[in-house]
């Protein structure tokens, strides 16, 4: 049986940064090739980078949100591309603006089917949220690390709300140990 920690895969990283000055998005949209700007639909300008693949949302206030990247390195790389593009447009950007990772979404697989009803009661109804009529997953809010895990009947899980890539590993560890304590995992780990 494969270790669930090997199945951990980062699906999305969201980071924010800023260039410290207001922007005229209309003119930036004109000059920046491949930028989408439709203020009626979304107040920000969307600029997609292909290598690495991600989308940067540039706002009037000069704040930038980067989403869709698969790793923290990709976030830095694609934001560098955005900064370079902005510099080409004669917009002054600091050499190294601070980039903060806001959220990391990770998926993992426990490799066996889960009985969510039993888990819901075992983990304590006050810590979890499980409404099969509304959503097939069980929502488990962990305190340490402070992330939210969605557990599904197939044994797959999604971990969101983490700030570091290690948060996901820690969360998987906690979940496995909690479930084994309750005798709800048959696996050999």
């Amino acid at each position: 049986m494969t270790d669930p920690k090997d199945t951990i895969n980062i699906e999305n990283v969201v980071a924010s940064t800023g260039i410290g000055q207001e922007l005229d998005l209309q003119s930036v949209a004109m000059d920046l090739e491949g930028a989408d700007y439709d203020p009626e639909q979304f107040p920000g300008l969307v600029y997609r980078t292909q290598e690495p693949k991600s989308a940067a949302l540039i706002f009037r206030s000069g704040k930038i949100v980067c989403t869709g990247a698969k790793s923290t390195d990709d976030v830095h790389e694609s934001l560098e591309i955005v900064f370079d593009k902005l510099r080409e447009l004669q917009i002054p950007v600091d050499d190294d603006p601070e980039i903060t990772v806001q959220n990391i979404v990770t998926s993992a697989d426990l490799g066996e089917n889960l009985n969510l009803n039993a888990i819901a009661i075992g983990l304590g109804l006050e810590n979890i949220e499980y409404e099969p009529e509304q959503f097939p997953g069980l929502v488990y809010r962990l305190d340490e690390p402070s992330v939210v895990a969605l557990l599904f009947g197939s044994g797959k899980l999604v971990i969101t709300g983490g700030k570091q890539p290690t948060d996901a590993e820690a969360a998987v560890d906690v979940i496995i140990s909690r479930l084994s304590e309750l005798g709800l995992l048959n696996g050999s780990f």
Binding site: N113, L114, N115, L116, N117, A118, A120, I121, L125, E126, E129, Y130, E131, P132, E133, Q134, P136, G137, L138, F152, G153, S154
Partner: protein, 332 residues
């Protein structure tokens, strides 16, 4: 004239408010009294026939004149009971004032049954207006009045019994006291309180059913429901599909045998754990459908789908899974 009346209602109401906490305290102390023998700490029993309380172990008579708290009159039919009883209906959480306030009748007749003169009639109308204004003094009470009315209306439409309404009212009152209402609609919170209490009482109604009788949409209902459950720490277990079976079966006119079979299918499914993450309503509908087929009773998927508010596709998918489980248990 109207001024004196209104002040009186106000003070009477305020007094009854003061009394309430004391009453509840007394109830608690009464419960704390343990029923043990003062001599040998044995178990005490009450002999109703002789009006005595005696110790089961040593035979000590602890009390030989038990007070009969029942009515001193006898009634042989309900009309007689109505005329002899001197008390009103018990207090209920289902009314915003617990049913304690007084109403001015609408008949415009005096105590002898004679019609009032036009002048008195006008006066009574004014008094009614003021009485109504003082029954619901602040916004919270008006809010509660509306919400409890909503709860009652929806519960009637869904055929939910008294105890569920009472629980829903209590949940709503708690939500109101904990200031959970600001930012949420009265209807939304009332509907989620009813949904939660139906689940707690073991007679769940599906979200679709609630949505039909409620004035809020499903999105708002589920959001409010999750919020209420989290904030009030209601700890509601996921609904058990078996609890939906009797209702669906009787609406489809199925036999007891089919109903039993449906429950068995669901129990087998729960053992193998294929129900996790699946909607309990869908599972129940599929089990009812499968059971009807197994007992040679004629129902169509579309009939089940209308009764349970579940799409035929869901019924087919769940039905296949349920039968696979059953084949598995039969082979094993």
């Amino acid at each position: 004239m109207s001024d004196t009346i209104t002040t009186r209602t106000y003070s009477a109401d305020a007094k009854s408010r003061d009394v309430r906490p004391r009453e509840s305290e007394r109830d608690e102390t009464q419960q704390d009294e343990t029923q043990v023998c003062p001599e040998c700490s044995g178990h005490l029993v009450t002999d109703e026939e002789h009006g005595e309380t005696i110790c089961e172990d040593c035979g000590l008579v602890v009390e030989d004149t038990v007070v009969d708290r029942g009515p001193e009159w006898r009634a042989f039919d309900s009309a007689e009971r109505d005329s002899k009883s001197r008390v009103g209906a018990p207090t209920t959480k289902m009314m915003h004032d617990k049913g304690l306030s007084t109403n001015i009748g609408w008949q415009n007749k005096d105590a002898y049954g004679k019609s009032l003169s036009p002048r008195q009639r006008e006066q009574m109308q004014r008094l009614r207006t003021w009485n109504e204004r003082f029954r619901t003094r602040d916004s919270k009470e008006r809010n509660l009045k509306q919400a409890l009315g909503e709860i009652d209306r929806m519960a009637s439409a869904l055929g939910l019994p008294e105890n569920v309404r009472e629980t829903a009212s209590v949940i709503y009152r708690r939500a109101l006291n904990d200031d959970l209402l600001p930012g949420r609609s009265i209807e939304g919170v009332a509907t989620s309180a009813l949904y939660a209490s139906a689940r707690m009482a073991g007679t769940p109604r599906s979200l679709d059913e609630l949505e039909k009788v409620s004035r809020v949409d499903k999105m708002e209902l589920t959001r409010t429901y999750r919020y209420i459950v989290r904030e009030l720490k209601l700890e509601i277990k996921p609904a058990d599909p078996e609890q939906y079976v009797p209702r669906f079966a009787s609406e489809l006119g199925l036999s007891d045998e089919a109903e039993r079979q449906a429950r068995q299918l669901l129990r087998d499914a729960k053992e193998t754990g294929i129900h996790s993450g699946k909607s309990p309503v869908g599972l129940a509908a599929a089990a009812v459908y499968a059971a009807a087929l197994l007992t040679n009773e004629k129902v169509t998927q579309s009939e089940v789908s209308t009764v349970a508010d579940i799409s035929e596709v869901t019924i087919r998918n769940r039905y296949k899974e349920l039968l696979e489980v059953q084949d598995g248990t039969l082979l094993a």
